[in-house]
Symmetry: C3
Subunit: 265 residues, 3 copies
């Protein structure tokens, strides 16, 4: 269970700090996730080259790793940045985009998660399922499973790597050590915009940078995603205008919005 | 000649299936083309690494290859994905972005087209012209020729590779085997938004995934592009708002819109 | 001091020519900068591969180099394109994104600037400061200094490479050879949108392509950025809608807007 007051405290901290969030993420969403981080009040930076990955991670308050559009060079940058982030004990948030779709994605996830266990894994039901069972196949990057059906996978994955698992879907499940927070916010238009899952991961990085209780940080991030999505959807005409309405909603978010709209359990 | 009813049948099939469209495309437009595919109802995935290109193509209902921002590594991924797509007999849609601008782009197109003949080539007048004649020079990625002037090149290119050629411009020409469909929909604002040609190519992939008559599929895709463009332009304030209005129009497209607005010959 | 009439003359020239602007820029902003170039009336092309960088630069009216998300392959493409641009005497505009954040970025800037001195460097206060002093550290890609505090660094940097330095911030300083133009246009929302600095650099390329007085060209570009930003901000709801409003404002810019809104000194 999370409280509106705690969600809002983190938003205020992000706006006041603001944390630098180092992202090694995919080509499709870089612009969107940078803009979402700016809109919530954080400072994003994208840097993947092995020549600078450690130096950039040394400046950051959180590291966000997203394996969409991966290739061997990018994986090398991820390894270097994750190694530095663990050395500095800054939070690592990991997004297994498309895990289960190809052996390369699944194996890369397992290699990275084993070598550099992150603090939070954020994924959809297919991706979380694929990380704990070879029997779960992902069809591309969109989930074919409901988040409810994957809640058990999330708990197993959390146990496997000792990290928070943030499973997004129509209900979001944030689990660790037998604890479970459910977020019921969000809107059906959200999966019709590419990369909003990646945006959730990036925002989770910003929250983890200001809140060392990573279970709470992950839940607060998903709550803010869902609330901003509901505000955006109230005026939007479709998935195109939703994108700008969503960034506007993140930027203009008020404590009152969180108090009135938060639906968590 | 195409019918509104047939266009609409394909839209319904895309929304109901939905087909997974595997894209190896350029950095500039990845976000836009993913969002356009989601808006029409398809499921996009972007994956270029040679380590996973075949596996991802094995899941897909269509493969979209776009040579913008190409380099040798990406070409290798394209070759592997095209090879697998041909083996699986799923449609390949090829976009020769900037062919004729540099020898590297022209040569890459010829190499790929010869080795892995696609089912549909979608390009603008300069690009289509450059693929059949070294005398046609492209200035960057924007066409300097009218589509009317390149219709003959489109027919020759179709004969050369035995594929549908979808030539976009103020009139779109979709040609194969002496057949020709003309689409008169569209709006002058569309070339003022980067990557709408690439979006046309991506949508052509979604239509080809649900309609094995690739001439019809290519024409239906161009018709939907043009109609959504006209709907968007009716309320838009410029090329910025046009982008979100266009995605909204794709998402909200109704059979009635197609019936009222389709202008084909 | 610049005049509204001179600013407008350049806009008209861009719309009438239009110049091809060759960009080797970062993954985050490619789409935005391409759209901004189209909106002002120029023709953008993105091409980074060493196999075609010289050929593309041979077609262009200006070359824009932006080191965000750099890696060794991209640097090689930059070197080749810059070499060709200098040979052809077309203007080079250089954006040292994140200089000072990592040794790799700072060193890459110094290597490129020494080997291929550009005509214009456009950066924020932290970046410009870092290029003249190792003592200035950049925190990611957002400036932590005011432009006023870096005006002296801009003058030193201009002397160092014999080029125009365009220092953006709440006041923009465009300096060369003891000359200094100040632009007071702009809006506080602009740093909340990722890549608007990169957009300023790209537009500077379009202006330099039509105006051989690079000090004036750089100042005109910053004036148009600021004016379009003010127009956009007058109707915008946040940083999401600002992006499309800004492109609409660039596209719809009228001479009267420049005359009424220009604030330069």
């Amino acid at each position: 269970m999370i409280k509106a007051e705690s969600v809002w405290n983190d938003v205020v901290k992000i706006r006041e700090t603001p944390p630098l969030v180092h992202n090694i993420t995919n080509f499709v969403v870089m612009n969107n996730t940078a803009n979402a981080l700016l809109a919530i009040g954080a400072s994003p930076v994208m840097a993947h080259a092995e020549e600078e990955a450690a130096d950039m991670a040394s400046l950051a308050g959180a590291l966000v790793i997203n394996i969409g559009t991966l290739n061997p060079q990018w994986i090398r940058g991820m390894e270097i940045a994750m190694d530095k982030a663990r050395e500095r004990r800054i939070p690592i948030v990991f997004d297994p985009v498309g895990a289960g779709a190809t052996p390369y994605r699944s194996q890369t996830c397992r290699d990275l998660l084993s070598a550099y266990p992150p603090d939070i894994i954020r994924g959809n039901a297919s991706e979380i399922g694929a990380l704990v069972s070879d029997a779960v196949m992902t069809r591309g990057v969109d989930s074919t499973l409901s988040s409810d059906s994957a809640a058990d996978s999330a708990r197993r994955l959390s146990g496997l790597y000792g990290c928070v698992v943030s499973l997004s879907g129509s209900t979001d499940y944030i689990v660790k050590d037998g604890n479970q927070i459910l977020i019921f916010n969000g809107h059906p238009l959200m999966p019709k915009v590419t990369g909003l899952g990646c945006t959730a991961t990036a925002l989770t990085g910003a929250f983890a940078a200001v809140n060392a209780d990573y279970t709470a940080a992950a839940a607060h991030a998903m709550a803010v995603m869902g609330i901003a999505g509901e505000i955006a959807a109230s005026t939007t005409k479709g998935p195109g205008s939703f994108q700008s309405d969503f960034l506007d909603a993140l930027y203009n978010l008020r404590e009152q919005d969180v108090r009135e709209l938060l639906k968590a359990g």
